[in-house]
Symmetry: D3
Subunit: 132 residues, 6 copies
């Protein structure tokens, strides 16, 4: 598409292994005008950010995942690579853990959340990252 | 719907007795991915929150209503039930009153506002409620 | 004093009827470089702000007072006179009430608080009032 | 349309001389429920705000434009007319300049940005303008 | 002292094993009107908060300490006991680590800092804790 | 002094040509625990920051000065050298100009201000610079 060549969209890296939530996140981001890459494990996420092949604008990660890494671990590793990387956590049960497991300047979305909340959370963190 | 079973949406309680504005609010919230219950009076709103049958995520209320309670009164009663309940006021004329009639950590939308502003206001208050 | 002629200090209006706390507030404000006028009732406070004889920069009020007006009432009346008037409440017991009785953009100090917290609260509100 | 008569939308003034970006901004604002007027030069923008014929709610301006005025200059002139006018800058290259050329309480969007970010930036500034 | 009986001061728990910095922190807090308890290790800090014998208002901790626990670890343990506990880190070298090792809603002071900055950081976190 | 060797204080660069205000600023900063260097013109200020001989932590500048540069100009030049340099303006008359002449993420103190407000403004900007 011609538009893509001139005005690329910011790409969000999504870590989610539950198919239904992956669809919801996909639709919300696309509707908000973000591109996204979805992976199912923290291992893949960290590898892709570390490789630098694509410049991602933000990380959206579920807290509870099938693999060894939880969302908390992924965020810490990503922040070691880039100390100001915008991070949104999604969680159904572990909201209290954010206070001791989360990283500074992140946002926690507790399920159920409206798709618009995800888009608003990303926009808010991206403004902080680029402007303040 | 199957999606609803797995990933319920947050439900917003809307107090509005003007049909046109009710439609605009309805469309804006639905498009942003919120569910909503709309009532026409403060009496109904307080009763429904107090009953606890449905867990509402936020209150959106017009300031000027036909009944005895104004939006300011409804918000105060709701905050007595839940001291951190997110509240958005909508008003066409009474913007100055927010400074003495509003509750802390609320947002006032002055008409005319864009539907996206309502969704952004709710998202901002919900992030504060869950994360800060 | 010569300094006073050239560089007047901002004057804070304090409503407090407990002598000990009046002393603490007096010392904290003086040390921070604020001038203050202390009154014991909400009636006096509102009259003095309304008269406009002295231009006060902020209101610091206890919530529980001997007279008919509580701090919540005083703040509402003051905000009707000036919708952006900076307000700090001090309270020993009624912290939960702030969520439904307080006005927007105010700060609540729960006793015990350090004198430096009062000075910091005032400074924060004055920056908002003059700059944002 | 009957709705327009009853519930007018806020009108955003957009300064953009690149057709493609004008389309993207147009679509994003319309989808968010904003009306807009688009002009191609700072001269037109300042004239229209100064005339007062239409009451604009915010300015969205590209930084690099074909005419003599850059976005930085337009914002300064607009803020002389209205000191609290909400301003969003869009820029592909000049992000560092915001720190010395931008005005206080503005937001900078660096390209590429998602359309939802523009809507979120406007909503955030409009809440500050009307409520804080 | 009579004042202490009526208007107790908030007590800050300080974890610092360097004597000079302990003195600076002690003087700054006393001058700002805070009481403090100083310990030299994270083990003592967590034990004292966990015991609940004294209700501490905030934690001020050096990041680099002689024992096994660093400031980052202490803060995580304290936040497991109380998810909204105000935390200030002090560090001479490890400023970048805050982005991945720090907890949300904390403040990092990088040495050298002025004593007033410590008092201001505590006041800011205490306002958030009690009012927002 | 031995303390200076181990725990240096942050140094603030002050631009002020009125002797009385220079004294007030000097006393306020010293009491808050800041070191300072005071100069009387923008030319000197920019030269000293540009030279890099001393690492200054923040700039405090009067808006109206005897020389050719006003505080607004000094801040813009300083931000070109360091885009995140913390800046506090002091002004007796030109408060409205801040909206179009000020730089983003700065604080304006309107005279008369309490000395504690200056210390609080600096602390707030330094926290933003080091932590957010």
């Amino acid at each position: 598409m011609r538009r893509g060549k001139v005005h690329n969209l910011p790409v969000v890296l999504v870590v989610e292994d539950e198919e239904l939530l992956q669809d919801i996140v996909h639709d919300a981001l696309k509707e908000g005008g973000f591109d996204l890459t979805a992976v199912a494990s923290g291992h893949e996420a960290v590898t892709m950010i570390d490789s630098g092949v694509v410049v991602y604008s933000a990380l959206v990660t579920d807290v509870v995942l099938g693999g060894q890494m939880r969302g908390w671990d992924i965020a810490r590793l990503v922040r070691q690579i880039d100390p100001s990387f915008p991070i949104v956590y999604m969680t159904g049960a572990a909201a209290d853990e954010w206070a001791h497991e989360g990283v500074p300047n992140s946002i926690l979305l507790t399920k159920p959340f409206a798709p618009a909340q995800l888009v608003a959370a990303l926009s808010q963190l991206l403004h902080l990252a680029s402007s303040d």
